[in-house]
């Protein structure tokens, strides 16, 4: 036996159903459309040395992990250790020796963004974080500490949005 649902009652529930659906969709898609305010995004610490990055900045922002993967495979598997810069000069395909040679601070350059984006790469389980004092620009210079401060100042000047968070770091150093 088939029971007939009275038509009228269905019509009455329609707005309710759609309202519920809308609420659900809104809540479900919240993370997708809720855009982060630009100010929240950490500014990447600019290079302190050299004019150019190994690849265009826009590419690096999105794809640095891919580039590091390619570098890793080419160094370890093919023994191909050098990256040719746009101006024809050579740099080592190395996170510690090349990337962090310019972007001297791992805390500022890597970690600020990674903790913001909640990603946890495990490079540093094995690779050794270079000491800021070991920066090649500093080699042969006596006062490592002073130069470290200078480099940080440089970094601050070029990178205004980071200035506030840097100040605390600077204060700590003085």
């Amino acid at each position: 036996m088939i029971r007939k649902v009275p038509r009228g009652s269905m019509m009455n529930e329609k707005p309710l159903i759609f309202a519920g659906l809308a609420v659900f969709l809104l809540a479900f898609s919240y993370p997708f459309w809720q855009s982060t305010e630009d100010e929240d995004i950490p500014q990447i610490a600019m290079q302190t040395k050299g004019e150019e990055c190994v690849a265009p900045v826009e590419y690096m922002r999105k794809n640095h992990m891919k580039l590091l993967d390619i570098w890793r495979d080419s160094v370890v598997r093919d023994g191909d250790r050098f990256h040719i810069m746009p101006d024809g000069s050579k740099v080592e395909k190395s996170l510690t020796k090349t990337c962090l040679d310019c972007h001297i601070s791992k805390e500022k350059f890597c970690e600020e963004c990674h903790s913001f984006a909640s990603v946890k790469p495990y490079c540093w389980e094995c690779h050794v974080v270079p000491k800021i004092g070991s920066h090649t620009e500093l080699s042969g210079i006596d006062d490592v500490e002073e130069n470290k401060q200078n480099l940080l100042k440089n970094l601050l000047a070029r990178n205004k949005p980071l200035a506030e968070s840097k100040q605390s770091l600077n204060k700590g150093g003085q």
Binding site: V76, G79, R81, C126
Partner: protein, 256 residues
């Protein structure tokens, strides 16, 4: 019925004979191929890195090569011998050369602690068993490890007939006194071994142990180049390799 069986037997005999001939061809081809892979010397084009260890010159008690290697590559030092990690070490003659063909060896030789390290075999069993390709043979003959890919299954450790490989049972970082920043450390659960200083070769340097040895015990060079020092030494001295009967074709040679 009998007819059928006879036919069947005849056919199968034929089949077996045929298979025998074919397999004979295959094995002949295979050995020819293996020979070609280890005797590329004639071409003189490619590189196969190798080492000669002149044990006559090695000083008892000297560990300079071991120290410099282990510092260069951040090899941890654990207190418990079960956790030991080693890239190059000294071992008893009897352990290094257990093969039956070494008879009536002089007392002096037998008493000497022999240097051991990865042989960078031309036919490395460790490479064959590694399920992830973490252990692989480079074009220049170096048996290299890609620590990123090692899953710690330790197949390679059981495949290596020389005990050249060590496993990180514990986090190695705390067991390294002074970390050398130029070279990475390892993680817990990863296998490691000598890499013939591939990172130094890339810069045109000799392996660290070769450079450090005060007695020139170690000679490193391209085995495929007839004009190298190493080939000269190999030509002028009788040398032995470890467990030759296994067919791994080591690239490390010993003068005893």
């Amino acid at each position: 019925m009998i007819q059928n069986r006879r036919k069947f037997l005849k056919k199968s005999a034929g089949l077996i004979a045929g298979a025998g001939v074919v397999s004979g061809f295959i094995s002949k081809y295979a050995t020819g191929f293996a020979k070609a892979s280890t005797e590329k010397a004639a071409s003189g084009k490619s590189i196969r890195w190798g080492m000669v260890i002149d044990m006559r010159k090695c000083i008892d008690g000297c560990v300079k090569c071991i120290e410099v290697c282990h510092v260069t590559h951040n090899v941890p030092e654990f207190d418990n011998p079960k956790d030991e990690i080693k890239w190059i070490w000294k071992s008893d003659y009897a352990k290094v050369f257990p093969s039956k063909d070494q008879q009536f060896v002089s007392e002096e030789t037998r008493q000497k602690p022999f240097l051991s390290l990865c042989n960078h075999c031309a036919d490395p069993p460790c490479v064959i068993v590694c399920p992830t390709g973490a252990t692989f043979k480079r074009k220049d003959g170096i048996v290299e490890m890609d620590f990123h890919r090692c899953i710690g299954c330790r197949f390679c450790m059981s495949a290596c007939p020389y005990g050249s490989r060590s496993f990180n049972w514990r986090d190695p970082r705390p067991a390294i006194e002074n970390i050398t920043p130029e070279y990475p450390t390892r993680e817990k659960g990863v296998v490691e071994k000598c890499n013939f200083c591939s990172e130094r070769l890339a810069k045109g340097q000799q392996p660290a142990c070769v450079e450090e040895c005060p007695e020139n015990v170690l000679t490193f060079g391209n085995l495929y180049d007839k004009n190298t020092e190493i080939r000269k030494i190999l030509k002028e001295n009788p040398t032995i390799t470890r467990k030759p009967e296994l067919g791994t074709n080591p690239s490390v040679f010993y003068i005893t």
